[in-house]
Amino acid sequence: MKLSALKCGQKGRITKMDGAGPLKRRLMDMGVLVGEEVKMEKVAPLGDPLEVTIKSYKLSLRKKEADGILVEVVA
């Protein structure tokens, strides 16, 4: 499923990252890598962007960017 589909408080493990170029590289440099665990923290009051925890820090990204990241839910 897409990262953006995780519910608040739910954790997932990244299985695939779409795309290429600067956007993907930027995400990888920030620690968004296949196999990494992410936790959905919050959705902004107006519905976008999202806040997630990854590598024990808080990262925010737009839904559009989170759509290219696929995850499997972990308990």
Binding site: M17, P22, L23, K24, R25, R26, L27, M28, D29, M30, G31, L33, V34, K42, V43, A44, P45, L46, G47, D48, P49, E51, K55, S56, Y57, K58, L59, S60, L61, R62, E65
Partner: protein, 742 residues
């Protein structure tokens, strides 16, 4: 970036004052929010010189000073998460490290966020330059119960590790001494080679040998291992710089790698580096078993709450606005009062005593003194806003503001962080342009700077006040409101238009860390505020003074001109008037006033008053020197009181109210009378819209020049906004006439 002459990695020994002195260059690198800026401020303090990196909007800080007998040049690199070639900051940082070859790199690492920070460390270590790791924010890590075995860390990495708490200036001497020791003996402090695993290492080795053998000049200019790794990543920037191409052995090795791993070699490298960072973190960091809910998370539960997030944001913005403008306004008025009162009188007395001719007196007072006063009037508001912006950024709330507002701003092609500069624009466009600094990408900065002048600033109020009071007194509130709304609506339209045209190519991204809330240090706040204000006074001072003198000449040439209509300015007004005809105010008076408004829009009113209703010379008894001095003192105390009562006296923003004091009303009476004869209400409304939208004032121009490094963006803004103003004014006037309102 140029390769400077002194780019050897040896420690220089220079003879100064007869004894031998050591001279070293230190580069400071680190993640954003790692406390790097605080660390640099604590080390260099007011010796920091602030400028821009050549040709870009990224700020550059450097300092030159002596430390325990060593001459130190310190360069602060932009905060980055990586040294990949995608963002401007990353390119600047790595070009500096690769080409300028500093003697030692201080890598500032946030001890509370080891793994992600160490990812950058692995990349810095690839350069082969001695590295000292500053394990910063150490106090916060200890409070969280983290135990970091920094000696083990130093052993694994083969570099010196120093614990620092930059906010309390702890560990900085150790850090400097470690850096100097490394620079003195680089061979003994070369960082270890991190092993990225069999395949990568084997290929890197082949490439490295190949570079040394077949491209010795390239291998000598840049660290070969770093170059080899970058080539494997398919780094186009490096290929361009070195002139290498993918033929021969280089291409063969790369193809072999890609065949083994697929095209996704970049991810493999990122994985390998993160694996190193993660492995190291596991080795040296012990976290407590039970994780407490941190303060940041508690605050964010409320500050980013679905229902409370926006009201809290709006309340915070209201407070910022009120503090910025209602507190600064009385002081600006005070400066203006001192300039137009005592200083002008004293200058007059002095010029008289020197038997200066009348024209020289007029030039000195109306040209030079008023120009200088003009710059100083901006000092209170610019310093206050810089203070507040630094606070918002340093505390971590700026990132939250962006998080809350992004959806709205994104819809017109902007970034969440654009909101605050735009909002400040309603007070004054000048500090608002400076505030675009909070945005990271050049695209977002420029787009925001384009739209800021459409936010109706405080200097446009005097124009509205006079015209609304004269023509729309019955509906003054609505008339004033409509001006603000007009500006916002047009900003939205222009934003959408620019997003689809000029800024189409660059795709906006929003990938932003939400750093923990932290209390900014007083030192940081002071240094940033002081630097920006000083910069403004120096840079704006010269340009404004020159312009002010120029305007004086335009109004006084030909020599001894009596009627303003015959002055050069008046004649320019006459020439320009026909252009304004379709907008309803094609007369030289309006045109000349608008031209004078290039300095600042409120000058439009002053010029109109002079043209339509010249004041008669009033003969008053001049106060004595002592009375003047006392007056300056008492009016300053008055300003302090007023600033206080502005903050605590009610919710409204005073600097946005259109009410006039009784004196102002009396002062404007002759002008109003003249305007009633010269304008119809429809023409007056079109004129107000024109003043709202036409070219951004000269001080805004200087701010744009300072932030963007060239006049080009101001040139574009002048063309776009003036065309816009004319179009809108014509539409209003012609549309109104068509509807029978004229």
């Amino acid at each position: 970036m140029s390769t400077s002459a002194n780019s050897t990695s040896q420690v220089h020994a220079v003879h100064a004052h007869g004894k031998i002195k050591k001279q070293i260059t230190i580069a400071v690198a680190g993640n954003p929010n790692s406390g790097k800026s605080t660390l640099i401020n604590a080390i260099a303090g007011t010796r920091l010189h602030v400028g821009n990196w050549a040709g870009v909007t990224v700020g550059k800080k450097s300092a030159f000073f002596e430390y325990e007998g060593t001459s130190i040049t310190i360069a602060d690199l932009p905060g980055t998460y990586s040294l990949s070639p995608y963002s401007q900051e990353e390119i600047i940082a790595r070009d500096y490290l690769v080409h300028e070859k500093p003697d030692v790199i201080i890598d500032v690492v946030d001890a509370t966020n080891l793994e992600r920070n160490l990812y950058l460390t692995t990349q810095i270590m690839e350069l082969g330059i001695p590295v000292v790791l500053a394990l910063n924010i150490y106090d916060e890590a200890e409070n969280k119960g983290f135990k970091i075995d920094f000696a083990k860390m130093a052993g694994i990495l083969g570099i010196k590790v120093v614990r620092t708490i930059a906010t309390r200036k702890t560990g900085l001497d150790d850090l400097m001494r470690a850096a100097i020791a490394c620079a003195e003996n680089p061979a003994a402090h070369a960082p270890k080679r991190l092993n990225y695993g069999g395949d990568i290492e084997a290929s890197a080795k082949i490439l490295e040998d190949h570079l040394r053998q077949d491209h010795p000049s390239v291998a000598a200019a840049m660290p070969p291992r770093w170059l080899a790794l970058k080539l494997m990543e398919g780094d186009t920037h490096v290929l361009e710089k070195t002139g290498l191409d993918e033929s021969g052995l280089l291409g063969k090795t790369l193809r072999h790698l890609r065949a083994a791993h697929g095209e996704d070699i970049e991810s493999i490298m990122a994985d390998a580096r993160y694996a190193q960072a993660a492995g190291l973190t596991r080795e040296v960091l012990k976290k407590p078993d039970i994780r407490k809910l941190e303060l940041t998370e508690k605050i964010d539960k409320i500050a980013l709450n679905r229902f409370l997030g926006i009201p809290i944001f709006l309340a915070a913005m209201w407070l910022v606005f009120k503090l910025a403008f209602d507190v600064s306004a009385p002081f600006s008025d005070w400066i203006d009062g001192v300039r137009s009162g005592p200083l002008t009188r004293w200058a007059g007395v002095l010029l008289n005593a020197l038997h200066a001719p009348a024209w020289l007196g007029s030039l000195a007072i109306d040209g030079v003194l008023s120009g200088a006063g003009f710059v100083l009037v901006f000092v209170p508001v610019i310093s206050l806003i810089m203070f507040l912006i630094t606070f918002l950024e340093g505390s971590g709330y700026m990132a939250r503001a962006a998080f809350v507002m992004d959806r709205l701003m994104h819809s017109i092609g902007l970034h969440g962080k654009s909101f605050i500069p735009m909002l400040l624009g309603f007070g004054c466009n000048v500090p608002a342009i400076y505030a675009t600094r909070v945005l990271e990408s050049e695209r977002d900065k420029k787009l925001t700077a384009f739209l800021i002048p459409l936010m109706s600033c405080g200097a446009r109020l005097p124009v509205y006040v006079v015209f609304i009071g004269t023509f729309f007194a019955a509906n003054s509130g609505t008339a004033l409101w409509s001006m603000y709304v007009l500006g916002i609506v047009i900003a939205i339209l222009i934003g959408l238009l620019l997003k689809a045209t000029m800024f189409k190519k660059e795709a906006p991204v929003f990938i932003m860390e939400l750093p923990p809330y932290r209390m900014p240090t007083g030192r940081d706040l002071m240094i940033h505020t002081w630097q920006k204000t000083k910069h403004f006074v120096v840079k704006a001072g010269t340009v404004i003074l020159a312009m002010s003198v120029l305007v004086w000449f335009l109004l006084n040439i030909p020599w001894g001109v009596q009627n303003k209509k015959d002055s050069l300015m008046g004649r320019m007004g006459q020439d320009a008037a026909p252009v304004l005809e379709p907008a309803g105010f094609g007369n030289w008076q309006a045109a000349s006033s608008l031209m004078a408004g290039v300095m600042a829009k409120e000058i439009v009113v002053g010029t109109m008053a002079e043209i339509y209703a010249p004041k008669k010379e009033e003969k008053k008894d001049a106060p004595s020197f002592a009375e003047d001095l006392k007056g300056i003192g008492t009016s300053f105390i008055q300003a302090v009181k007023e600033a206080g009562s502005n903050v605590f006296g009610g919710l409204g923003i005073k600097s946005l109210s259109s009410s006039e004091s009784p004196e102002e009303k009396a002062g404007h009476a002759p002008l109003r009378h003249a305007l009633l004869g010269a304008f119809t209400p429809l023409q007056a409304y079109a004129f107000m819209a024109f003043v709202l939208l036409y070219w951004p004032c000269l001080i805004t121009a200087i701010a744009m020049k300072q932030e963007f490094g060239s006049w080009k963006i101001y040139g574009q803004a002048v063309l776009i906004h003036s065309a816009l103003a004319w179009t809108v004014a014509v539409l209003i006037f012609q549309g109104g006439k068509f509807l029978g309102l004229g």
